[in-house]
């Protein structure tokens, strides 16, 4: 009786290691072959890879589960099935990433030339032209947004960590978290609503874009700074107090420098988050084809809006506009990834050890 219990519940032995990969390959090949047969015999001219993948995977899972259940037992079979499901989930997430990266790179290099980075779109119709006005606009608007958000963000984080006790501090923490969820378009609408009071309807200004972006950046900066300030050991603060250093000097000269690397990382991540925002800039900074260095006057072009308008407002020569859109997308992605990389490097090399 014990032997029977064993074999049905715990199984008699483990599956050989080669079985699983062989089954996987086998079922995918069979599914592919089946689709080829269908295609050559029937009306569908092309082979659709989704059914190939789906049926191959389904066949493989069922086969492995059944074999495993017979040989290894129910528990191990379930374990194998879950492993398949979890690995599938992961691959499913990687596929769009690979597809995106491949598409952006292959289509973006078509216009990734010197002209793209040295020309604006002024007087350009059809081919040629570039995104310099958009890149300068992005740098200016993001720069101003950073100038606005960083002081406010760091001071608010200092308040939360060093000074805040009681209801107001709890409210502020709660609403900082809520603020991270403000949709970017609402931030743009707010900037517009703010400016329309002073400048009348139809206002478009680079500064408005900076204000909308800072609304999105501030919560990220606060959160990151708060985490970094909390990590600073209390002993450092106590040592400073013991030496008679006033609290404000302690914060400025002891706590902040210790956490500076982490704060810098947080700021870079916040910049990376907002530099790709299109919607608020579309509403309030507008779009233009010419260079505009003045954020206080008239429309200013930014890189994500450049990508969007190149796609949405194509001229007669459609391919030229699409090429510019993909080149802009590639530039944008590179900027964001470089920012993320720099953030990680700063955090790795400059954060206080131990």
């Amino acid at each position: 009786m014990t032997a029977q219990l064993n074999s049905s519940f715990r199984g008699t032995q483990d599956l050989p290691k080669w079985l699983s990969p062989t089954l996987l390959v086998g079922f995918f090949l069979a599914s592919f072959g089946f689709q080829v047969l269908l295609a050559s015999g029937g009306e569908t001219a092309e082979i659709n890879f989704i059914p190939v993948a789906v049926f191959g995977l389904l066949g493989f899972s069922v086969a492995l589960y059944v074999i495993s259940r017979v040989i290894e037992g129910v528990r191990k079979a379930t374990d194998r099935l879950v492993t398949i499901m979890v690995s599938t989930a992961f691959s499913l997430a990687l596929i769009p990433l690979i597809s995106l990266a491949y598409t952006v790179v292959t289509k973006g290099v078509a216009r990734f030339d010197a002209e793209f980075f040295t020309f604006s779109m002024r007087n350009v119709v059809g081919g040629g032209g570039g995104a310099l006005h958009a890149i300068i606009g992005t740098i200016e608007i993001t720069g101003i947004a950073t100038l606005i958000s960083v002081p406010i963000g760091i001071m608010a984080a200092i308040y939360l960590v060093e000074y805040g006790r009681g209801t107001i501090a709890r409210l502020v923490t709660f609403f900082v978290d809520v603020m991270t969820g403000v949709p970017s378009i609402v931030a743009g609408l707010f900037a517009y609503a703010l400016f329309v009071i002073f400048f009348g309807p139809g206002v478009r200004m680079g500064l408005g874009g900076a204000i909308a972006l800072s609304l999105l950046m501030i919560p990220v900066v606060i959160r990151a700074t708060e985490e970094m300030l909390k990590i600073v050991p209390n002993e450092l603060r106590e040592a400073a107090y013991a030496l008679g250093v006033p609290k404000w000097l302690t914060v400025l000269k002891v706590v902040l420098p210790t956490s500076l690397a982490g704060i810098a990382t947080g700021i870079m991540i916040a910049i990376a988050r907002v530099i790709g925002e299109t919607a608020p800039l579309l509403l309030i900074a507008g779009f233009t084809a010419s260079m505009n260095y003045n954020p206080f006057d008239e429309r200013m072009m930014t890189l994500p809006v450049f990508v969007y308008t190149s796609y949405a407002n194509q001229g007669v020569d459609m391919q030229a506009y699409l090429d510019r859109a993909w080149a802009g997308a590639l530039t944008l992605m590179l900027i964001v990834m470089v920012l993320n990389l720099v953030a990680r490097l700063i955090s790795k090399y400059f954060s206080p050890k131990g």
Partner: protein, 369 residues
């Protein structure tokens, strides 16, 4: 820490270097393509001219501004494509000196005050931008189809659903129509193109197309919605058996429909589009400097293509600021001139206005003071 500061300084310096003028925005501007300089010598003009309005002529305005600024380096012209309604509203607040609009002045708007103009005077308007709207479709191996107005209306109203429907096959005897469902693509944004297209549909097939001229497509007619002209063209190109309407200059390789005018089937062309504007009556009860036109969609004039979008240029007859008057005179003359219209046509694909319309417009322009 030092490293961070050095990195930051390097970034700042490289930014400043990058911020050097774009290579194509030097003082002596040369056009990269398309825009031609006016041939006659112009008096040295200087100043800034601000206008706003319809986005349908935004591409044309780009070409016109480029050409005009090259011939008159002391002038800066700004055109803000905020949309026809906002353009007219901004003109009525005095923020702009001229405006472009897909629709002519309404009677009640003309009773308002116009701060840029001397009190008591009214603005002029005349058609400046004629854009033929092509009915484009994507069917393998078919480049042109004949259709009458009722058929087109039936397709876009969702009543004719298959390509090999009897109505289409009857007037296209030598085309092999497939047994494929029709997907009608329309503009999902409010646009003058939709308005002019549906104006045509309701004029020629009022019992099929019952909702009149609208800017926002009614949901009950189904079909695919796309944003902007580019969106419609992409959607039609990307599907099989799709049909849509868009600015004719963007038709590209897609098949186009020849619509029935009188007894013939007329494909779009620049001359045909300009012809229908000339063949259409002016709006009643307007002054001689107001050339508002009601496009006759049911015209039977031979060789006229009735599906057009006409945009107007509007300005003051008597400007408060004489310097602005001078600038507007030169600007408007360039826009109606043959060089100007051809420059825009080369890059933006509009249909140049006819000589007759040009002459009438020039009379109005010469009277601006």
């Amino acid at each position: 820490m030092n490293n961070i500061l050095k990195l930051g300084a390097l970034a700042a310096v490289s930014t400043l270097v990058l911020a050097g003028c774009a290579a194509n925005e030097d003082v002596a501007e040369t056009p990269t393509s398309g825009a031609e300089t006016p041939t006659e010598a112009v008096v040295e003009l200087a100043g800034t001219l601000n206008g706003s309005g319809a986005s349908s002529m935004a591409a044309g305005q780009e070409a016109w501004i480029a050409g005009f600024q090259i011939a008159n380096p002391g002038v800066t012209v700004n055109y803000d494509p905020t949309g026809s309604g906002t353009g007219r509203a901004q003109f009525m607040t005095g923020a702009t000196s001229f405006t472009g609009s897909d629709s002519y002045w309404k009677d009640e708007e003309l009773l308002e005050a116009f701060p840029s103009c001397v009190a008591g005077t009214m603005p002029w308007e005349f058609p400046i931008w004629i854009s033929p709207i092509a009915v484009i479709f994507n069917l393998d191996g078919v480049s042109s189809l004949n259709m009458d107005g009722a058929t087109v209306a039936g397709i876009f109203a969702g009543e004719i659903t298959m390509w090999n429907d009897a109505a289409i096959a009857a007037v296209n005897p030598d085309v092999a129509l497939p047994d494929l469902a029709i997907t009608a693509v329309h503009r999902s944004d409010e646009s003058g193109t939709s308005k002019n297209f549906t104006d045509y549909l309701s004029a020629v097939a009022g019992d099929t197309w019952t909702v009149g001229a609208i800017e926002a497509w009614p949901a009950e007619f189904g079909g695919e919605g796309a944003q902007g002209t580019s969106g419609v063209v992409s959607a039609v190109t990307g599907g099989n058996g799709t049909i849509g309407y868009a600015d004719a200059s963007r038709a590209g390789d897609l098949g186009t429909v020849a619509v029935k005018v009188g007894t013939d089937y007329v494909s779009y062309s620049a001359e045909a589009a300009a012809a229908v504007v000339d063949a259409s009556p002016l709006v009643e009860g307007r002054e001689s400097y107001d050339l508002a036109t009601n496009i006759d969609r049911n015209t039977t004039a031979s060789g006229a293509y009735p599906i057009v979008l006409v945009s107007y240029l509007m300005g003051c007859n008597d400007y408060m600021d004489d310097a602005q008057a001078e600038l507007v005179r030169a600007w408007a003359s360039y826009l109606v001139s043959e060089e100007g219209q051809n420059a825009a046509a080369a890059t933006a694909g509009n249909a140049p206005i006819s000589a007759g319309l040009r002459a009438k417009a020039q009379v109005i322009i010469d009277a601006i003071k």
